[in-house]
């Protein structure tokens, strides 16, 4: 075995994140590490890379015991990691990012010409021919992700760990990253792949290990499992069908509630018209960079529209800034929970009531009993895994942070809720729960705008889907037109709709 972990145990106050876990990775395999939100996947990885110190257990690499005390030490030993949030520096060039900390030197100074040449050669191994002098931030997330992989592999080169690397990629980009991963596997690396996308697990991986509540449930060859058994191992129960198969796509009779005319801004998104009915779910589909998030930000007052008008049945609405939009009964759960969602040092309770409190104003604090009730309510309803409501939200697992941010908006009971990638990083069980929740909310009259890269998800919940391409609203599918196939074709511009 290339990497072999025995009896790994790690506890945090109030949680046993890992309990006596064994885990092996062979050279030349892609090994999926699966489990619900909070199962302990990221904790296992952090113990492995020295980011956390384990309480007990052994780690052996190539048969020799190792004990990394920091991520850089782990890298020197041969274990490289790429996290979901690209952990590179967007303001440096691609070459600088690749060679950071080990630039070729000449007369003691950084030799930028050689840096460039070496970086270029490194990326060519991955079939990537890009201008390495441009800032990393100007490239798509997929390319950034591949640069991160290239850096990790060149630094380490035995074990490569990918923690939800595809969460923010679209289909095409996922393919790009997968090709790179397969190539590395064939070169003999051991690869650990963490993901909540089960299709990708079947597509890419050779074996899977499943964790539940910090314990190892099973390690199995991927092809011996099917989707159903995988989910049962993860959840410890079967998954009821997420959303009624007979979702009727089209509360055509939904009374019109909001109308947006000519909202847009040069260079951001072409002016568009849009209506939203009461209790309706509108989906936004499109590739990354097609203007989906920009559309949402326009509607929530995060970006100013040049001209245009938003109105409800009572007249024009003021969407000057997020506060005004909230005043109009809007809510917006953003895509990037880490920078735009959570307030890391504050507790789960404080994060959940933050929006409510902001709306009430500073002088009228939400009574503590009410805060506790709300927090406990949503922790239960959304199954947020936390030892208690006073835990700093930053210490929750990624998926559970996402749920808590959602809870913040639900607690405010908006009439129009914009959800940008609401299920990103959320496990299959909770994924189904959230889709069901959206159905419930709309049944009570809330209108929802869902942005999603997962077409199945849109088909499952949306009454109407607006398709975007190149920063323009290009098609609108209603009722029976809302099928995966139609959406895909509209995105790809095959004379759709």
């Amino acid at each position: 075995m290339l990497l072999s972990i025995r009896s790994l145990t790690k506890a945090f106050p109030g949680t046993r994140a890992l309990d006596d876990v064994d885990f092996d990775v062979a050279a030349g395999e892609v090994h999926a590490l699966l489990g619900e939100n909070g199962a302990g996947k990221s904790t296992l990885i952090k113990c492995l890379t020295g980011a956390y110190q384990r309480d007990a257990g052994t780690i052996a690499l190539d048969g020799a015991r190792i004990d990394p005390r920091s991520t850089s030490q782990a890298q020197e030993l041969g274990i490289g990691t790429v996290y979901q949030e690209v952990n590179l520096l967007p303001n440096l060039t691609v070459a600088q990012n690749l060679m950071f900390g080990r630039e070729p030197r000449r007369f003691g100074l950084v030799d930028s010409r050689r840096t460039r040449v070496v970086a270029q050669a490194m990326l060519q191994q991955y079939g990537l021919d890009i201008n390495v002098d441009r800032d990393l931030g100007t490239y798509s997330v997929a390319i950034q992700q591949i640069v991160a992989i290239a850096r990790a592999v060149s630094l380490s080169g035995k074990v490569l760990i990918l923690d939800e690397p595809t969460a923010s990629l679209d289909r095409r980009e996922v393919e790009m990253v997968f090709d790179v991963v397969r190539d590395l596997r064939d070169r003999g690396l051991g690869i650990v792949f963490v993901s909540h996308f089960l299709d990708q697990v079947f597509e890419l991986t050779d074996r899977v290990t499943i964790l539940r509540n910090g314990r190892k449930i099973v390690t199995e060859t991927t092809s011996n499992l099917n989707r159903m058994s995988l989910i049962e191992h993860m959840l410890g129960r079967a998954l009821e069908d997420a959303v009624s198969e007979t979702h009727d796509h089209g509360k055509a009779a939904a009374p019109r509630m909001l109308q947006f005319d000519g909202i847009g801004r040069a260079g951001v998104i072409d002016p568009f018209d849009m209506t939203v009915g009461q209790g309706e779910v509108v989906g936004l589909a499109g590739l990354l960079g097609s203007g989906r998030t920009e559309t949402a930000e326009m509607l929530f007052g995060l970006r100013q529209s040049q001209g245009g008008q938003a109105r409800d049945v009572d007249g024009p609405l003021d969407l000057r800034n997020p506060r005004a939009a909230i005043g109009a009964g809007f809510g917006f759960a953003p895509e990037d929970r880490k920078t735009d969602g959570i307030v890391a040092d504050l507790s789960v309770r404080q994060n959940i009531i933050l929006g409510l409190q902001a709306r009430r104003g500073w002088a009228r604090p939400v009574p503590r009993a009410e805060q506790n009730r709300l927090a406990d309510d949503y922790i239960r309803k959304l199954d947020i895994r936390t030892s208690d409501r006073e835990k700093p939200i930053g210490e929750l697992s990624g998926g559970n942070q996402q749920k808590a941010v959602l809870a913040r908006w639900l607690a405010m009971n908006p009439r129009f809720l914009i959800l940008d990638e609401p299920t990103r990083g959320i496990d299959v069980g909770a994924h189904a729960e959230i889709l069901r929740l959206i159905e419930d909310l709309t049944a009570q009259g809330m209108s929802v705008l869902v942005i999603s890269s997962e077409i199945d998800e849109l088909v499952a919940v949306a009454d109407r889907v607006i398709v975007l391409r190149d920063r323009r609203h290009v098609a609108e599918l209603t009722g029976a037109e809302v099928t995966g196939d139609r959406i895909m074709r509209a995105i790809a511009d095959e004379a759709a709709a």
């Binding site: 040092d345 933050l354 929006g355 009430r360 500073w362």
Partner: protein, 335 residues
């Protein structure tokens, strides 16, 4: 976390310091009642800590928003000078105080707008007023030391109320009032949220801009109070020396109080303890009879020790050490 566990490190540091000073100067804790007032070294500490304690209240709020206010020393000079000018030109006590407070609020507003609206880094934004403010104070005093004889104003600096020095009352009441307002309303939560993640807070509907301006105004008002106390104490406004370097002591008090310069959770009481620690060191060194040229070095050394003992690194090492000396049967059997 309960209040007591939060401020335990500061309480322990203060107690240890008092014990240390008492070794060199056995009468340190002695307090007697004479002529209608309490007297003793401790009372002196409680009086002299007034300026830094007042500054640290506002500074705590600013730092909680991930900011810093370097201008408070200069604001003290401006406010002291305005009050002195008003008094000596015969305006009466109440108008003089109002003018000083208004000057402090205005200075804070200036800082707040630069930080929250213009978007200048707090360090740089307040550096501007730090440099400029003393010049403004000199313009007000016309380069002289403005002295006055108003007894009412003097009382604010050296008077006694219910046995205690008036400056002590001023900082105690200010700190208690601000701590109470901040915790009884949602201000504390909103300030912390903006400090940890301004963007996420704004998206959740928190009015981050107004909140940021408000904390700088609060800091300016605290500096005005500190300026009034100091000016009243020496019965004169010295634009060159009033509040000189006190911004650094105030920041130090906040840091000794265990508040992170990266913003977020804060404790005003802990900062006040920090201010008391700083003043105890200062007074203690004098009483212990060290030659005055040693003062700064000893002070820096003690502060360094306190900060090292409080650092997360040391805390982690300590818990590691403690755990490794605790026998846990389950883990033992496996090794």
């Amino acid at each position: 976390m309960t209040l007591l566990t939060r401020i335990a490190p500061q309480l322990i540091a203060l107690a240890a310091l008092i014990a240390l000073v008492s070794v060199f100067f056995p009468g340190f804790l002695a307090v007697e009642f004479s002529g209608g007032r309490l007297v003793g070294p401790v009372i002196d500490v409680l009086k002299r800590s007034a300026p830094v304690a007042l500054l640290s209240v506002g500074m705590t709020l600013v730092i909680a928003t991930r900011g810093i206010d370097l201008s408070v020393g200069a604001i003290m000079a401006i406010c002291g000078a305005s009050a002195a000018l008003a008094i000596s030109s015969g305006l009466g006590l109440a108008p003089a105080l109002l003018i000083a407070l208004a000057a402090g609020a205005l200075a804070g507003l200036w800082n707040g707008v630069l930080v929250a609206v213009v978007g200048i880094q707090p360090f740089v934004a307040t550096l501007i007023l730090m440099t400029m403010g003393r010049g403004v104070a000199q313009l007000i005093t016309e380069g002289r030391i403005l002295t006055f004889t108003d007894a009412g104003f003097g009382w604010l600096g050296s008077g006694v109320l219910l046995g205690m020095p008036v400056p002590t009352w001023i900082w105690v009441v200010t700190a208690a009032a601000v701590a109470l307002v901040v915790r009884r309303t949602a201000l504390g939560l909103l300030i912390e949220a903006v400090g940890v993640n301004r963007r996420a807070s704004a998206l959740a509907g928190v009015n981050a801009t107004v909140l940021l301006i408000a904390v700088y105004v609060a800091s300016g008002l605290c500096a005005a109070l500190a300026g009034i106390v100091e000016t009243a104490d020496i019965r004169g406004a010295d634009a060159n020396n009033a509040g000189l370097w006190l911004e650094l002591d105030a920041i130090l008090a906040v840091v000794i109080g265990g508040n992170s310069l990266l913003g977020g959770r804060f404790s005003i009481i802990a900062s006040i303890l920090g201010a008391l620690i700083i003043q105890t060191i200062g007074t203690g060194i004098l009483l212990a009879g060290f030659p005055s040229e040693y003062n700064l070095v000893i002070k820096a050394g003690l502060v360094l020790i306190i900060l090292i003992l409080q650092s997360p690194r040391i805390a982690a090492e300590w818990s590691l050490w403690r755990d490794s000396h605790r026998v846990e049967p389950r883990q033992r059997s496996r090794i």
